[in-house]
């Protein structure tokens, strides 16, 4: 017997809105991390000198090398939690499980998109802290039935407490 789901969002799920999902601290960013990132995202062309030529960068408005805005300082290993960076296990209901809440009865997930507001640039030596929170739920009925849209907010700050970026990511589940 097929039952039509009227809502995926339970009272238990609403109660944890705003909860912290995770906190990660990077190792200090190295010039070579920035250089290699720039090579990868501009390949096969040479990346801009701002990302690898210290003398050139010192004469720029940035007064030194900076990282490309979308650079990820958390790849491979993190300082806190110490060790290998934890990759997502692709569990469509991992968010609620991590908060000790009964997850919605969804089976599939899609990356719905990303929205980033940038603050100060990341530089060699910076230590970045990332804090993720569960921001919101909304639902819409679509071609594949009832769809649950989950927004997560992720704030990065540097060692001076300056905001580096604010990311809102959307997960679509059905």
């Amino acid at each position: 017997m097929t039952q039509t789901v009227t809502s995926y969002v339970s009272d238990e799920m609403r109660a944890v809105l705003g909860a912290e999902l995770g906190r990660v601290v990077s190792f200090p960013i190295a010039e070579s991390d920035i250089r290699r990132w720039a090579v990868a995202v501009y390949y096969p062309e040479e990346p801009p000198r701002l990302f690898w030529d210290a003398e050139y960068a010192a004469g720029s408005v940035h007064r030194g090398i900076v990282a490309p805005e979308e650079f990820n300082p958390f790849a491979w290993m993190t300082a806190q939690p110490a060790g290998l960076a934890r990759m997502g296990d692709n569990d469509p209901n991992g968010i609620e499980k991590s908060l000790g809440v009964r997850p919605p009865p969804t089976e599939f997930q899609l990356n719905g998109g990303i929205d980033v507001t940038y603050g100060v640039r990341m530089r060699p030596g910076d230590v970045i802290t990332s804090v993720s929170t569960l921001h919101g739920y909304h639902e819409r009925r679509g071609r594949l039935g009832l769809m649950l849209f989950t927004t997560m907010a992720n704030t990065w700050t540097n060692q001076h407490g300056e905001q580096v970026r604010l990311t809102k990511g959307m997960l679509i589940r059905y």
């Binding site: 990132w37 990868a40 995202v41 096969p44 490309p68 980033v116 507001t117 940038y118």
Partner: protein, 148 residues
């Protein structure tokens, strides 16, 4: 940095509202995806192995959405230069970048406004394949110095 107003509105870095900024073009394949996997710790079978790509419903292995995201930033940086600032970017990941596609990142100016000593420019941005299919549509806000 900012030219005199042209017919139809202010001009920033040689472009005005309604015009496209210079495109950023790549033909990504395993050489690109492996390099990106190496810096972003993103070694996922669908990005490395054609069989895994086919099992996921695509004709080949396919590139990372995050690399499309980087190409949109490359597009903006190429236009605004070192003095420009990327303030905000958003996009959706609608279609996969499979082998053999020529990916072009585009930006079209939708608004220019002065803000302090800078000009703020809003753009529609997107990546598309050689057939005009949009892979990652979105928007961006950048700012550039209003005058040297």
């Amino acid at each position: 940095m900012t030219d005199a107003p042209a017919s139809g509105g202010p001009t920033v870095l040689g472009r005005t509202v309604g015009q496209e900024i210079p495109t950023f073009v790549r033909t990504p394949g395993l050489h690109h995806w492996n390099r990106y996997a190496a810096v972003n710790d993103e070694f996922v079978p669908i990005h490395m192995d054609d069989e895994a790509g086919r099992a996921a419903g695509y004709p080949t292995a396919f590139g990372m959405g995050n690399l499309q995201w980087s190409y949109l930033h490359d597009l903006l940086r190429q236009w605004i230069g070192d003095d420009g600032r990327i303030e905000h970017v958003h996009c959706q990941f609608r279609s996969a970048n499979v082998k053999g596609q020529v990916i072009t990142a585009h930006g079209r100016i939708t608004e220019v406004r002065p803000e302090g000593d800078r000009h703020v420019v809003e753009l529609e941005v997107w990546t598309e394949d050689q057939h005009g299919t949009r892979l990652a549509p979105g928007g961006a806000v950048v700012s550039v110095p209003a005058a040297e």
